[in-house]
C-alpha cells in the first residue's frame, strides 16, 4: 500500500463508519459494483448451463456457439431461449439454465412482432419493459450503469494521477515551474469542456472496436478535466512543504522522493479523498449528458443518457423508459453524494480540534 494507515487515518475511517447514511451508501454502491462485475451471469442472452446429450456447456464466458452445436440448422449464435423451449418440448432430458433476465442489451426482442416500446411484463421477463426498438430496458440499464460506473472510476484514476503529480510538483518544486504550469492550466481550463469533447470525439474514426472508442472518449474527457485537481494539490503541497516537519525531515537528510511520498502526500489525503465522490458524480453526469446529446458512446452501447433521451422523446407513450433511467441516475448520484458528504465530514479536521 502506498500510504501506511496512521492512527489519524484509522480514526477517520472509524468516523466514516459511524456516519450511517454515508456508510450504507458506500456498502450499497460497492455491492452494485461487485455484482455488476458478474453481470453476465444475471442478465444475458447466453445460458448459464446447457445440458445437451449428456454433456454440460457453460457458454457465458466462452466463445460463441453456433446453433449447429445444439442441433439447430443455423451457424450463427444459438438462441438459448429457443433452445430451452425446444428442449422442454422434446422432453429428452436436455435442459438449459438461463440467467434471471435472459436478454442481451443489444438484442431486439419484440413482444408483439413490432419493434416498439413495450411496457414491463414479468411473463416475458422484460421486467422494466423494452425501449423503442424492443431491447430490454433492464439489460440496457444494467450494462449502461456498469459502463458509466467503471468509466467514472477510470476517469477518477486518470484525473487523480495527472492532477496529483502535476499539482504536487507545482507546489513542491515551485518557482518558474509553478508559474509556467499555472499559466498553462489557466489557458487550458478556459476551454469549454463539453464542446471540446464533442468536437474531438467526433473526428475519431469509428474503425476501432467499441471498447477502444470508450477508452478514447475517456482519454479525451480526461484531457480536458485534469486541471481542477492540480490547484488543490498545489495549495496543499505548498502548505505542507512550509511546515516544520518537512524542514526537519530535510535536515535529517531525507531525499525529495521520501519527503514527497512519506510526508507530504499522506498529509494531503484529506483533500484527495474529499473530492473523489464529486469527481465521480461529474464523470457520470458528463458521460450521460454526452450520450443524451448523441455525442457519447457509439451505438449500440447501452447507456443511461441514451435511455434518458428515448424516455424524454416518448414521455407520454412510454413513461417506463424515462422512469427507469431517471430513477437509476438519481439513485446512483444520490449514493455517491451521500458517500461524499460522509467522507468530507469524517475527514474534516475541525472535528478533532475542538477544545472542550
Amino acid at each position: 500500500m502506498l500510504f501506511k494507515l496512521n492512527p489519524q487515518t484509522t480514526k477517520k475511517l472509524r468516523r466514516f463508519r459511524e456516519i450511517k447514511r454515508g456508510y450504507y451508501s458506500f456498502v450499497i454502491l460497492m455491492t452494485i459494483i461487485v455484482v455488476s462485475l458478474f453481470g453476465e451471469l444475471l442478465i444475458n442472452n447466453r445460458a448459464l448451463v446447457v445440458s445437451y446429450e449428456g454433456e454440460l456447456y457453460f457458454p457465458t464466458y466462452t466463445d460463441f456457439r453456433p446453433g449447429t452445436d445444439f442441433g439447430f440448422d443455423y451457424s450463427y449464435e444459438t438462441n438459448y431461449r429457443d433452445l430451452k423451449r425446444r428442449f422442454e418440448e422434446e422432453g429428452q432430458g436436455n435442459w438449459v439454465l438461463l440467467p434471471l433476465v435472459p436478454y442481451s442489451p443489444n438484442e431486439n426482442h419484440s413482444v408483439t412482432g413490432i419493434y416498439k416500446a413495450d411496457p414491463p411484463t414479468a411473463e416475458l421477463q422484460h421486467y422494466l419493459g423494452t425501449d423503442t426498438t424492443s431491447r430490454d430496458i433492464l439489460a440496457r440499464l444494467f450494462y449502461g450503469t456498469r459502463i458509466a460506473l467503471f468509466f467514472s472510476l477510470g476517469f477518477l484514476g486518470a484525473v487523480y494521477a495527472i492532477g496529483i503529480s502535476v499539482g504536487s510538483a507545482m507546489g513542491y518544486i515551485g518557482g518558474w515551474f509553478d508559474l509556467l504550469f499555472q499559466r498553462i492550466i489557466e489557458i487550458w481550463s478556459n476551454i469549454p469542456f463539453l464542446y471540446m469533447v464533442i468536437i474531438i470525439f467526433s473526428v475519431i474514426p469509428a474503425a476501432y472496436a467499441i471498447s477502444t472508442r470508450i477508452v478514447i472518449l475517456l482519454v479525451v474527457m480526461v484531457l480536458f478535466s485534469w486541471t481542477s485537481m492540480t490547484y488543490y494539490m498545489r495549495t496543499e503541497t505548498y502548505k505542507q512543504k512550509a511546515r516544520d516537519y518537512v524542514a526537519a525531515a530535510r535536515i535529517i537528510g531525507a531525499s525529495n522522493t521520501r519527503i514527497i511520498f512519506h510526508h507530504v502526500l499522506p498529509n494531503t489525503l484529506a483533500t484527495m479523498v474529499t473530492f473523489m465522490p464529486f469527481t465521480i458524480v461529474s464523470a457520470i453526469t458528463a458521460v450521460t449528458a454526452l450520450d443524451f446529446l448523441g455525442f457519447g458512446l457509439p451505438p449500440p452501447t447501452p447507456s443511461l443518457g441514451e435511455l434518458l433521451k428515448q424516455g424524454t422523446e416518448n414521455l407520454r407513450t412510454a413513461p417506463w423508459i424515462v422512469i427507469s433511467a431517471f430513477t437509476t441516475l438519481v439513485v446512483l448520484l444520490t449514493l455517491v453524494t451521500f458517500i461524499g458528504e460522509a467522507v468530507r465530514e469524517s475527514f474534516d479536521p475541525k472535528k478533532f480540534t475542538v477544545y472542550k
Binding site: F64, S75, Y76, N108, G113, Y115, T133, I210, T312
Partner: protein, 667 residues
C-alpha cells in the same frame, strides 16, 4: 428550379443534423432570445456602380451570352404551348383567410436565397414552394402550366426555348417582372459576390445564351438537346434587378436579413422577422396571379406564422394542444403510438388523420459501399453484404410494414424505372457463400467471419441520419448472424456528409433527395469522372496511377469503363425510348456490381391536421411531396371557433381517418 445543389441533395441529413445541433445549443448555451438586428447596413460609398450598372457592363462584356434582339427575330414557325389543357389545381371550395400556425426546428440563418447558409429548410417558405417560376410541372400531369410565362415554344434545332412573359406579373414590392430580371438572374448567379460556386458553375455551363426580344419576350438556349430541356428552361425564378441596387462584394452580409421581393403570394414584412423566435408570412391581397387559372384558390391563409420549436417531441405536443395546425405523422411511432386512432382528439373528430399516396422519384435510402476500400473492392463481399442486410425485417418490424423495399435507387421514374429488377433478399446462406468465396470461411470466437490471415469481416457503417440510428442497430444484429460485423458510426449530418464527400467511408447509410424529374441521373453517382482522376487509360484499361476524386456524389467510387460509355450515350441522347433502354441497362449493371443495398421507399405521406384545416376533395395532387407544398389547403376560421368551443363543451364530431390511395402504385 432544377438545381441539384450538392448541399440540397443532403437536405434530409441536414435537417436531422440541425435537430441534434439545435438541441445541443439549447442545452449548453441556453441560447434563444433576440439577436441584434442587422437589417441596416452601411451606405454604399458614392461612385460605386449599382447592381444594374454592373449587370450592364457584364452583358456588354459577354455579348455571346446576352443578346438584345427585336420581336421580329422570334421565329414564326414555332409551336406555342400554354398548358391550357391542364386542370385547375386549387379547389373551388377554398376560402381565403385565417392564420396558419407552423413550426420550424431552427431559425433561418439568413433570408438570402443564395449564398452561405441559404440552403436550409426555411427556403421552402420564401422560395421553393411559394415563388412563381416561368412555368411549373403540373402536379397531376407532369406537363407545364404557366406561371410568369404565358406561353413557351421549343425550337429543337437551335436548342432554344422561347417564352412570352406575363405582363401582369409583379414583384411583391409592386415592380413589374420584365425580361431584364431574367438577364439580371444570370449576372447575379454568375457573380462571385454571392459566394455560391455551384450556382456560378450551373449558370455558366448549362446555358449558352439568353435573348431579349422586348420587355416581355425572351429565349434561353441550352448546350444540349435533351428530352427534359423545357424543365431546364422554365423552372426559373428571376432575380429582381431593382432590389439588388447595392449589390457588391459585401452582398452576403448586406443582404443577410433583407427579404427578397417575391413573385409568389406570400411576402415577409420587416417587423415580422423576430430573430430567433418567429417569421410571419403575409398574403399579398393584390397578388398579380390570384385570379389566374392555375393559381386561384391556392395560398389561402392570410398569414402563416412560423415559430421556432427546437425539437420534434415538443412540436408534437404543441400540435396536440392546437398551437400548430398540422403535423407530419409519417413515422410509425407517431401514427400508431403518439397519435393512435383511439386518441380522444381523433375519436372526437377534432384532429383528422390523413394518408396520401403520391407518385414521384423517391429519396435513395440505402447502404452505399465505397468500392475503393480494401475488401469492398471484392464483388463477392459486396454481394454478401447485400444478402446480409435484413431490410425486410426493418421494414416489417420497425417501420411496421408501412414502407416498401426499394428495388433500385431509381424508383418512381415511371417507365424509366426498371420493370423487373428487385433488391436482394436477406439470405444468410447466400451471404455466407459469397463471403466464403472471398476467403472468409471461419467464424472467430465472437461469431464474426475471418479469412486465412485472421482478418475480420468488419466494416464501419457511417451515417448522419441520427433519428434512424435504431435501424442501423437492427441491421447490425442481423448482419452478425451472417458473420458480418458492422461498426456503427453515428455522426452529425454535416460531418457524415463531409466524410463521404472525402470518400473516407466504408459503408454509408443515407439518401440523396430526388427531384420531380422525368428521368434519373447517372453521371453524378456512377461515372468514373466522379470516382477517380483519369480512371482509365486510352484503351479502356484501368489506370494504375489513378487517384480517388473527392467532393463528388459518386459515393460508391464506381468506375466501369462500359458504364461510362453508356452514361455518355444517355446524356447525349435526345430519344426517350433509347434513354429508357440505356437507363435499364445501366441499372442492371449497377445491380450486378452490388455496391448499393437498396433500403426502403415511402410511397405516401401522412399528416395529422386539426378539423379547421381543409383540403380539396381527394386531398392533394399526384406528384405532391408534402401536404402543404402546393398550398391547396385552407383555414376555415368559423370551423376553428366551432371546434375550439366544441372541445371546451365536450361536443364531438365524426372521427376522420382517411386514406387517399387513388394514386397508390403497386410496388
Amino acid at each position: 428550379m432544377k438545381v441539384l445543389n450538392p448541399e440540397g441533395t443532403t437536405m434530409i441529413n441536414k435537417v436531422f443534423a440541425k435537430l441534434v445541433l439545435m438541441g445541443l445549443m439549447g442545452l449548453l448555451a441556453a441560447c434563444g432570445g433576440e439577436t441584434e438586428s442587422t437589417t441596416t447596413s452601411a451606405p454604399v460609398p458614392e461612385g460605386t456602380p449599382s447592381g444594374s450598372e454592373q449587370a450592364q457592363q457584364f452583358y456588354a462584356a459577354n455579348p455571346e451570352f446576352f443578346s438584345f434582339k427585336t420581336p421580329a427575330d422570334v421565329p414564326t414557325d414555332l409551336v406555342w404551348e400554354n398548358g391550357s389543357h391542364l386542370p385547375e389545381i386549387g379547389s373551388p371550395n377554398a376560402k381565403k383567410g385565417g392564420v396558419q400556425y407552423e413550426a420550424m426546428q431552427d431559425y433561418p440563418r439568413t433570408l438570402r436565397l443564395v449564398g452561405p447558409d441559404s440552403n436550409g429548410a426555411f427556403r421552402n417558405w420564401i422560395l421553393d414552394n411559394v415563388a412563381v417560376k416561368l412555368a411549373h410541372r403540373h402536379p397531376d400531369n407532369f406537363d407545364f402550366y404557366p406561371g410568369l410565362a404565358t406561353e413557351w415554344a421549343l425550337s429543337e434545332e437551335t436548342r432554344t426555348v422561347y417564352m412570352k412573359l406575363d405582363p401582369d406579373a409583379r414583384w411583391s414590392d409592386g415592380e413589374p417582372v420584365t425580361a431584364d430580371d431574367y438577364f439580371f438572374m444570370f449576372f447575379f448567379n454568375r457573380s462571385e459576390h454571392i459566394v455560391a460556386p455551384w450556382y456560378n458553375n450551373w449558370y455558366s455551363t448549362q446555358y449558352t445564351n439568353i435573348s431579349k426580344y422586348d420587355d416581355y419576350t425572351i429565349s434561353l438556349t441550352m448546350p444540349e438537346m435533351d428530352p427534359d430541356i423545357l424543365y431546364n428552361a422554365l423552372e426559373h425564378t428571376p432575380s429582381p434587378e431593382h432590389f439588388y441596387a447595392e449589390f457588391g462584394p459585401d452582398y452576403v452580409e448586406r443582404y443577410q436579413w433583407r427579404f427578397v421581393p417575391t413573385t409568389g403570394a406570400y411576402y415577409v414584412k420587416d417587423e415580422d422577422i423576430v430573430k430567433g423566435r418567429s417569421v410571419t408570412l403575409t398574403r399579398d391581397t393584390n397578388w398579380w396571379a390570384k385570379d389566374k387559372k392555375f393559381w386561384k384558390n391556392r395560398y389561402n391563409a392570410d398569414q402563416i406564422y412560423i415559430s421556432v420549436v427546437r425539437d420534434s417531441a415538443k412540436m408534437f405536443e404543441a400540435f396536440k394542444i392546437g398551437d400548430l395546425d398540422m403535423f407530419g405523422l409519417s413515422l410509425a411511432e407517431y401514427w400508431y403510438d403518439k397519435l393512435p386512432d383511439s386518441d380522444p382528439d381523433v375519436q372526437n373528430g377534432y384532429i383528422h388523420k390523413s394518408v396520401f399516396y403520391n407518385q414521384r422519384p423517391r429519396p435513395t435510402w440505402g447502404l452505399w459501399m465505397n468500392t475503393s476500400r480494401a475488401l469492398l473492392e471484392n464483388q463477392d463481399i459486396r454481394l454478401g453484404i447485400n444478402y446480409a442486410s435484413n431490410w425486410d425485417l426493418v421494414i416489417e418490424r420497425y417501420f411496421r410494414g408501412d414502407f416498401q423495399r426499394m428495388r433500385t435507387p431509381h424508383d418512381g421514374f415511371v417507365e424509366f424505372s426498371h420493370p423487373t429488377l428487385r433488391a436482394r433478399p436477406f439470405d444468410i446462406g447466400k451471404a455466407q457463400e459469397h463471403f466464403a468465396a472471398a476467403g472468409f470461411t471461419q467464424r472467430g470466437p465472437d461469431g464474426i467471419l475471418m479469412n486465412a490471415e485472421g482478418q475480420k469481416l468488419s466494416f464501419t457503417l457511417t451515417s448522419g441520419a441520427e433519428p434512424l440510428a435504431p435501424v442501423l442497430t437492427i441491421l447490425k444484429e442481423e448482419a452478425l448472424k451472417a458473420g458480418l460485423d458492422l461498426r456503427i458510426e453515428m455522426l452529425d449530418g454535416s460531418a457524415a456528409f463531409k466524410k463521404v464527400q472525402e470518400k473516407q467511408h466504408d459503408i454509408y447509410f443515407g439518401a440523396f433527395g430526388a427531384f420531380l424529374e422525368m428521368y434519373p441521373r447517372f453521371w453524378e453517382t456512377y461515372h468514373s469522372d466522379n470516382a477517380y482522376d483519369d480512371a482509365f487509360l486510352e484503351d479502356g484499361s484501368v489506370n494504375p496511377d489513378r487517384q480517388i476524386k473527392v467532393q463528388t456524389n459518386n459515393l460508391e467510387s464506381m468506375a466501369i469503363y462500359e458504364l461510362d460509355q453508356l452514361i455518355e450515350q444517355y446524356d447525349a441522347s435526345s430519344d426517350k425510348q433509347e434513354m429508357i433502354e440505356l437507363g435499364h441497362r445501366m441499372m442492371e449493371m449497377h445491380h450486378d456490381y452490388a455496391s448499393f443495398v437498396p433500403a426502403y421507399v415511402q410511397s405516401f405521406y401522412r399528416v395529422g391536421h386539426w378539423r379547421w384545416v381543409k383540403f380539396p376533395e381527394g386531398f392533394n395532387h399526384k406528384h405532391s411531396d408534402t401536404s402543404g407544398e402546393l398550398f391547396v389547403h385552407w383555414i376555415d376560421t368559423e370551423l376553428k371557433e366551432e371546434t375550439l368551443a366544441a372541445r371546451r363543451s365536450g361536443q364531438t364530431f365524426e372521427p376522420q381517418i382517411n386514406v387517399y390511395d387513388q394514386f397508390a402504385e403497386e410496388l
